[in-house]
């Protein structure tokens, strides 16, 4: 039927064009990709992932295993988009997947002839000889669903947190009834419906509710729900649960790119997300043109698409007859209905299908009972006939010509989201499928998701669930009464999972279409001892990947039970993992994508660094300048220039990232005595002290300086990367071990910017910049003294401390004046230096960072034995006496120099004695020192070898090869600290 003539509930008046595999096609507005391709006579839409078998569309929803497309043009391609869910837009470009070079001619389809070679577990047994690498390239090329996108450049996805009394999953009849009951009772309600329209199967089922057409009821219900403030999220699927929140994913038009993620905190949840129709296994049941019965009904009702002109229907329940009636009414020819149930079973189960059968027979439909489709016949272009036979005499088969074979083996309640909440499935004999076990305190299943497969039961089930959920949240208003209804009868299903087939043909009876799992695979797995359904899943790939058992999970379990000679409940269901359908990782990231991928912290001097050409890099969360572009084209060159400048003249750097913790209260000194290796309580007011803290196990945790501001107030600085950890460390002990002490801990990291002024000219420059009132302290302060005062009427602390070995001062100022102070220092002749230079300066002096204090070193290892005092008991100090801490195998911090001029070594290089292979230590830091004129470094070396003059080999096979180095004292430059004391 031409596009313009089609009539369907989802079609709009507009026309549009799209491209599929390079050819242009017409479509109607509202068409999905699968519907439009079917309307254009395209049945071959993809190839299977393993055997590359030709495949057509199987479903009309997100469960689709075959018709998955890559959408867009390289590099902006989104793979694995479900054709039945993708609503077309004018000009959209689609490409089929899993084929090369074309869909109709795929080179790798030769694999389909090798089914026995590529059976279950083939990858555990094959490709071993002569080497995996021989096969790796081609296997990787063939593996995977679609291809990974390039630079998708998707718009920022939206994440929204919602909370409500009752969340209703699904806006079919049961979901709408539940939402209405809950809203009427006074509950706040949110509905998530995966389709763009509400009503579920009412879209094509001829039904009446409360004496009026079901469409009118849906419309009136939605109107009332809006009036009651119910929030309806369409095209939003509940894909999983995490952290106690239900996660709904919204893909407008079925295409990632304008998607949203809702994180919903609901006090009660009504799961009314319907059911998933599953097929029956028969030979070549994956040919294009073999489709689920319900899908064909949906394509007809929604898009006016006739999936074939001559149909054969194959099912095990009554619904097949009502569907056939609708197909006939739409002008399609139904050649035959193949019902697996025998004549006697019809009468036992009620008379409706008998009556309908009679009517259909009169209309020319051949109704076969106790029969099965043994095989589909056809080729790449699709099914051409069905081979039909009595179940008890499969050899007595005959051929019925058809161009569409519609199959239905029953329905599995959509329990994915509910089971992910920790529930267990239980088998319902009534519907021959697994339902979710009850969770009465929170979740209430309703409708088809609860096994209610007829309209009247679904409505009453939904109403009751909505009322219960509302009551649970304390809403006790009148929820009204259940809507009465008439529609399709209960399907009266008798389980039938697969048609008879010789064992040799079982490899063409497909169970899981997405993963090419066949009955033969299941049999092989079981014969090889994989009996548990979880083992079967992993060995055969049944229900793995994005499918997660939606299509083949129940069918696979049932056939596995048959092969094992046991029951379906005994085999059980494999774990259904989230998400329910594919969700782009970008959707989950929300605003944290691209340049905003992770949190960044900025110092008050961030803009000033950018102004002066600072090359900012992430150091932990902080953005810090590594070097300034004016000093060299790269970090190495600029770093050397900046370090040289500091040693010969002076420079400034931004140390605002240092953690700063203010400790206050009458017992603050005593508290700090417990937190550090040396005593804080003995620090005089106006003095500071270098302090080292230990972990509980005696390893060095961090170092820093502690300033005593007043009798009862201290400021402790921490390493940049240790700020939050040290704060937590302090707070933990304050709140637990010493909860009674009169001491408080406050993070003041952001309250104080820190500018380091270092170099021989630092004092003179500061004199100029700070003014005459700071002259006295500038000259009076000795190393580790500090003074507090005002600059530009804002607080300033001048600390005489050095991390460069030069005469240096730290200016602790309020953030608002930091940029002013920074610019004033630059105008006075001091240039900024970055982390690269800072590293050179500190390695030259043997100062430590987390490279050395790496959590595995003790104070003795780091040459801090002098700090270990017997009169101070602090966290970790008791463990310092452990014998192992003093063993000769412990490392010791040493300096390293190159033996041969012009060679170098890098951090991470392993150190060995020249003729040995076993490492005796490793390089923690290394730099090219402009002051020394060679590469120097720091290392942790076994004590027995940590003697000056020992020659070692720095082995670095992946980078710079081997370098001979000599052990030296850690302090490479100005060992007498004369410059620091200037």
């Amino acid at each position: 039927m031409g596009s313009a003539l089609r009539q369907g509930t989802r079609l709009g008046p507009g026309q549009l064009r799209f491209r599929f595999d390079g050819r242009e096609y017409n479509a109607r507005s509202g068409d999905t990709a699968a519907a439009a391709l079917l309307a254009n006579g395209i049945r071959l839409m993809g190839r299977s992932v393993k055997y590359r078998r030709p495949r057509g569309v199987m479903t009309a929803g997100l469960e689709e295993p075959n018709a998955l497309f890559s959408v867009g043009e390289r590099p902006f391609v989104i793979p694995n988009v479900s054709g039945p869910s993708l609503i077309l837009r004018d000009g959209l470009v689609l490409r089929s997947q899993n084929r090369w070079p074309t869909l109709s001619f795929d080179v790798a389809s030769v694999l389909r002839t090798g089914g026995s070679l590529f059976g279950a577990g083939f990858y555990y047994k094959t490709f071993m000889w002569p080497s995996w690498r021989v096969y790796e390239g081609i296997i990787r090329r063939l593996a995977g669903l679609g291809e990974a996108p390039g630079d998708c450049n998707l718009p920022t996805p939206s994440i929204e947190h919602l909370s409500c009394d009752v969340l209703v999953g699904g806006a079919g009849p049961a979901g709408l009834a539940a939402a209405l009951a809950a809203a009427r009772a006074g509950a706040t309600v949110v509905i998530c419906e995966r389709e763009p329209v509400c009503g579920g199967e009412l879209e094509f089922e001829e039904a009446t509710i409360e004496g009026r057409p079901s469409a009118d009821w849906v419309s009136a219900t939605l109107s009332e729900l809006r009036t009651r403030g119910v929030r309806l999220l369409t095209e939003s699927t509940i894909v999983g649960e995490t952290d106690g929140l239900l996660i709904a994913h919204r893909e407008p038009g079925g295409l990632a790119g304008e998607n949203s993620v809702y994180r919903i905190r609901a006090r009660a949840f009504v799961a009314a997300m319907g059911s998933v129709e599953h097929p029956i296994a028969f030979i070549d049941n994956d040919l294009p043109g073999v489709m689920l019965l319900g899908a064909a009904e949906r394509y007809l009702a929604r898009f006016g698409v006739q999936v074939g002109s001559e149909l054969v229907l194959f099912a095990n329940h009554d619904r097949v007859y009502t569907a056939a009636s609708r197909f006939l009414a739409a002008g399609l020819r139904v050649r035959a209905i193949v019902d697996t149930r025998g004549e006697g079973e019809f009468e036992i189960n009620g008379g409706l299908s008998v009556r309908t059968r009679a009517e259909l027979t009169r209309a020319g439909v051949e109704c076969l009972s106790g029969h099965a489709v043994i095989a589909a016949q056809g080729g790449r272009g699709g099914v051409r006939a069905a081979l039909v036979a009595p179940i008890n005499a499969p050899d007595a088969s005959r051929v019925i010509a058809c161009d569409a074979l519609l199959v239905s083996g029953g329905w599995s309640p959509a329990v994915h989201a509910t089971l992910q909440q920790g529930g267990t499935p239980h088998f319902s004999n009534e519907i021959s499928a697994f339902k979710a076990a009850e969770r009465p305190g929170w979740r209430h299943d309703a409708g088809a998701a609860n096994g209610a497969l007829d309209l009247a039961t679904a409505l009453s089930d939904g109403h009751a669930a909505g009322e219960r959920a509302a009551r649970l949240t304390g809403r006790v208003g009148d929820s009204g009464s259940t809507a009465g209804a008439g529609g399709d009868p209960r399907p009266r299903l008798l389980p039938f999972w697969r048609s008879p087939a010789p064992v040799g043909a079982e490899k063409r009876q497909f169970v899981d279409f997405q993963n090419d799992v066949t009955v033969a695979d299941l049999r092989q797995a079981i014969e090889e001892g994989f009996l548990d359904i979880e083992h079967i899943k992993r060995y055969t790939t049944l229900g793995v990947g994005t499918d997660q058992g939606r299509m083949g999970g129940l069918l696979g379990a049932a056939i596995a039970a048959e092969i094992q000679g046991t029951s379906v409940p005994q085999v059980g269901m494999s774990r259904l993992r989230p998400p329910y359908h594919s969700v782009t990782l970008q959707s989950l990231a929300g605003a944290r994508v691209g340049g905003a991928l992770r949190v960044t912290r900025r110092t008050p001097l961030h803009d000033a660094h950018a102004t002066h050409g600072g090359q900012l890099e992430s150091m932990g969360l902080w953005m810090r300048p590594r070097y300034y572009i004016a000093n060299g084209p790269d970090a190495f060159t600029a770093g050397i220039a900046e370090a040289r400048q500091v040693r010969t003249w002076g420079g400034i750097s931004d140390a605002s990232t240092l953690g700063k913790i203010e400790i206050a209260g009458p017992e603050s000194g005593a508290f700090l005595d417990r937190m550090y290796l040396t005593k804080a309580s003995t620090i005089r007011i106006g003095r500071s002290k270098y302090m080292v803290s230990l972990r509980e196990d005696g390893m060095v945790l961090d170092d820093g300086i502690v300033l005593r501001l007043a009798e009862d107030r201290f400021v402790a600085t921490t390493g940049t990367g240790h700020g939050e950890h040290m704060l937590s460390h302090f707070e933990y002990y304050r709140d637990t071990e010493w909860g009674g002490r009169r001491v408080t801990v406050t993070d003041v990291t952001e309250a104080w910017a820190v500018i380091v002024v270092a170099g021989p000219r630092s004092r003179d420059t500061l004199h100029t910049v700070l003014g005459s009132e700071w002259q006295v302290p500038l000259h009076r302060l000795v190393h580790m003294d500090f003074a507090a005062g005002l600059w530009r009427e804002r607080e300033l602390r001048l600390v005489r401390a050095s991390f460069s070995g030069e005469l240096a001062f730290e200016l602790h100022c309020r953030p608002d004046i930091a940029p002013l102070l920074w610019e004033a220092l630059i105008e006075s002749g001091l240039a900024p230096y970055g982390l690269e230079a800072l590293d050179i300066l500190r390695v030259e002096k043997g100062y430590l960072t987390s490279s050395e204090m790496n959590g595995q070193t003790t104070p003795f290892d780091l040459g801090m034995s002098g700090l270990v005092k017997s009169d101070n008991h602090c966290i970790g100090s008791d463990l310092l006496d452990r014998r192992a801490f003093h063993a000769p195998t412990r490392p010791l911090l040493v300096g390293l120099k190159v033996v041969d001029a012009g060679t170098k070594f890098l951090p991470g290089a392993q150190l060995t004695v020249p003729d040995e292979r076993r490492p005796c230590g490793f390089v923690t830091s290394s730099v090219y020192s402009p002051a020394i004129g060679e590469w120097i470094g720091l290392a942790l070396v076994a004590r027995s070898l940590a003697h000056a003059g020992t020659v070692l080999l720095a082995r670095d096979p992946l980078r710079d090869g081997d370098t001979s180095v000599t052990v030296a004292p850690p302090v490479h430059f100005d060992a007498g600290a004369e410059r620091l004391k200037a």
């Binding site: 947190h161 909370s163 605003a591 944290r592 912290r601 900025r602 309250a751 953030p815």
Partner: protein, 172 residues
């Protein structure tokens, strides 16, 4: 970002921010278990408001208070210190006050927290907004967020993104 008053309008979201140059934090030695001056917001999550609605003292976590711009309440803090209940620390520059107004203000915050739950039964709450530490409180026109200064630029960019992006807004 400077400490000067700044303002951006993004769709129906108005974001204004300013550094708090004179903020003070008060920490209790023990909580609960002390005698507090009259008017002190003792319940965690409660807020003391100045007569014109200004946020005077936020009890943002048990035993921890923030006076964003201390005025009259400074005397209250002094009396608490004098009573030996805790200490106060000047944290000028530590916090940025971010004011969110406009119809999209709830939506901007809902991108990172469940506002209804977080502020249920309390006036303010210490939260992580897009992984940035902060305190949030509801105002007549929208919300006030106090963010640690080093995170503020990042946070403001994140708050704007859900509105700036092409993401379809929810169907209501």
């Amino acid at each position: 970002m400077t400490s000067a008053q700044a303002q951006r309008k993004v769709g129906e979201l108005h974001i204004a921010w300013r550094a708090l140059e004179h903020a003070v934090e008060f920490r209790a030695y023990a909580f609960p278990g002390a005698t507090w001056p009259t008017g002190f917001p003792i319940t965690p999550g409660s807020v003391l408001r100045a007569p014109l609605g200004r946020f005077a003292l936020l009890h943002f976590a048990p035993g921890r208070w923030l006076a964003p711009e201390p005025a009259e309440e400074a005397a209250l803090l002094d009396s608490a210190v004098a009573a030996g209940t805790g200490t106060q620390t000047g944290v000028g520059g530590k916090w940025q006050a971010i004011t969110l107004t406009g119809a999209q203000a709830p939506r901007a915050l809902a991108a990172t927290i469940d506002l209804e739950t977080v502020l249920s039964g309390r006036d303010c709450a210490a939260v992580r907004l897009f992984d940035c530490p902060g305190i949030v409180a509801r105002t007549v026109e929208g919300f006030e967020v106090w963010a640690l200064s080093s995170y503020a630029t990042d946070l403001i960019q994140c708050l704007k993104r859900p509105i700036l992006g092409k993401s379809a807004l929810p169907v209501t």
